[in-house]
């Protein structure tokens, strides 16, 4: 039985580089950093005082009364989803909303709401918002996105830490291939730049401590990398069956060829140093997409800028692609936007789709001296991608040993 073809017909993003897809993409191509030193009062006692906040505050975009009912994570998700939905042209297509589903992930959920309501509780229990639960629940972003557009096929929230955004795309692809929906609004969101996550990731020794040089803090693959930079934002992709898209004459950015998931079974926080879990995720994405390593010309790596993680991924890519990794440009957007946790895979999938669509790989910044344990073709400047049929991989890995790789194909 042949697989249902699935294509990308809409893109949306709000990131540390811009409040929409075009400004984000421009920033990535220009090698711009979205990092900055935080100046809020709450940051003063923290060891790590740098992050990459969303360039456009979502409350400037969403209507005031609506915004106060949404956690920041859901606000970001709704902003990205509105852009993707408008981009797809589906609103005017008259599609059956019972064939429209949602898969929008978050790594942490409504943490702003959880913390602010805990503070309110300490003052007076009656100050706890009656909307606290619908705002803090992890499925809140997905639920509000479904309400925005009246999606009725099903609303899903995969939670797998920093692999969540990619897992949402994996899940969305399955819904269409299993015939449960024609269109899935898929993505991920995170708004978690707050004292608690900065302190907690800091205590794990996971974050860069370059407080005096924020724009140079996130440096995947560089020999002097010292941890990741916390970012925030959301990415959303409209996944649509090829038949459905073709019938309505939709524009198509790329094909979502396959998605692979695996688990390390190794440690709650450390990646398997052999890279075998990540390798299996990539191999599954390729085989499900009827692709071979020879087809891959662009790899959007997970590459968070942690000392061990970047090496394990490089090993995994080499194992999955072998010699064909020589002709695949490796790119690490986290060097510019930081790590968006549950939003990372989705925003970077948007970037991967645009790389294929525009035939160009964005640069990786801050690679002053490539770590000699990184055996990848790292581009520190934009790189043109070849014409013809090419494919790309986007990797995301998360605490818990989650590995999720997505394979996209040019159209």
């Amino acid at each position: 039985m042949s697989k249902t073809r699935v294509v990308i017909t809409g893109l949306g993003a709000t990131t540390p580089l811009g409040g929409d897809v075009s400004s984000t993409w421009e920033g990535l191509l220009a090698g711009r950093s979205g990092a900055r030193r935080l100046t809020d009062e709450w940051v003063q006692n923290l060891a790590v005082q740098i992050a990459a906040p969303a360039a456009v505050d979502p409350t400037e975009v969403i209507e005031r009364v609506k915004a106060r009912r949404l956690d920041r994570t859901a606000q970001l998700a709704v902003v990205a989803a509105r852009e993707a939905w408008a981009d797809s042209g589906l609103e005017d297509s008259g599609m059956d909303k019972e064939r429209l589903g949602v898969a929008v992930a978050s790594g942490i959920g409504g943490l702003h709401t959880t913390l602010s309501n805990y503070d309110a509780l300490q003052q007076n229990p009656r100050r706890v918002s009656p909307l606290a639960i619908p705002m803090l629940m992890p499925n809140s972003s997905a639920a509000y996105v479904s309400l925005e557009f009246g999606a009725k096929a099903g609303v899903h929230t995969p939670v797998s830490a920093c692999a969540s955004g990619n897992e949402a795309i994996w899940l969305g692809l399955d819904q269409i291939r299993l015939g449960r929906a024609d269109v899935i609004i898929a993505g991920g969101s995170e708004g978690a730049i707050m004292a608690l996550p900065l302190a907690a990731f800091g205590m794990m020794q996971a974050l860069s401590k370059r407080n005096d040089d924020p724009e140079r803090a996130s440096r995947p693959w560089d020999v002097d990398r010292d941890g990741f930079l916390l970012g925030e934002g959301a990415g959303v992709l409209i996944l649509e069956s090829y038949e459905h898209a073709k019938a309505r004459g939709a524009k198509m950015y790329a094909e979502l060829a396959g998605a692979g998931i695996s688990a390390d079974g190794h440690d709650i926080a450390q990646p398997d140093p052999t890279g075998s879990g990540a390798r299996r995720a990539m191999e599954r994405a390729l085989s499900e997409g009827d692709l071979t390593p020879a087809d891959i010309f662009h790899i959007n790596a997970h590459a968070t800028s942690t000392p061990q993680g970047d090496i394990a991924e490089s090993l995994a890519i080499r194992q999955a692609l072998g010699k064909d990794a020589d002709h695949a440009v490796a790119t690490a957007p986290k060097s510019m936007i930081g790590h968006l946790l549950g939003g990372a895979g989705a925003v970077e999938s948007v970037a991967t789709v645009l790389a294929l669509h525009n035939r160009v790989s964005p640069p990786t910044i801050n690679v002053d001296k490539l770590d000699d344990q990184i055996d990848l073709d790292v581009a520190t400047e934009q790189r043109k991608l070849p014409e013809g049929d090419i494919a790309a991989l986007n990797n995301s890995f998360g605490f818990g040993g989650h590995n999720a790789a997505i394979a996209f194909k040019s159209l």
């Binding site: 209507e63 005031r64 009364v65 106060r68 009656r126 100050r127 918002s129 009656p130 909307l131």
Partner: protein, 82 residues
């Protein structure tokens, strides 16, 4: 002691902040649910904000009796005088 009009006007600002209803629409004869479209969870927020603003207690059991803006203003007036 605040006048009826002062209470109505302060309450209107609370309803505007929470539910986005224009201040001038929040008149004594208007029903919170039928006319102003304030849903039940927003009503809880309005009640708690009103308690703090007017320094009164509005028991949860009482909220269902506050059908119109006038009902709420009258309750607040009584509570302040009591």
């Amino acid at each position: 002691m605040a006048s009826t009009e002062e209470i109505r006007s302060n309450l209107a600002e609370i309803v505007n902040e929470i539910a986005g209803i224009p201040v001038e629409d929040v008149q004594l004869d208007k029903s919170f649910t039928d006319d102003l479209d304030v849903d039940s969870l927003s009503m809880v927020e309005v009640v708690v904000a009103a308690e703090e603003k007017f320094d009164v207690k509005i028991p949860d059991d009482e909220v269902k009796n506050l059908k119109t803006v006038g009902d709420a203003v009258a309750f607040i007036e009584r509570a302040q005088n009591g």
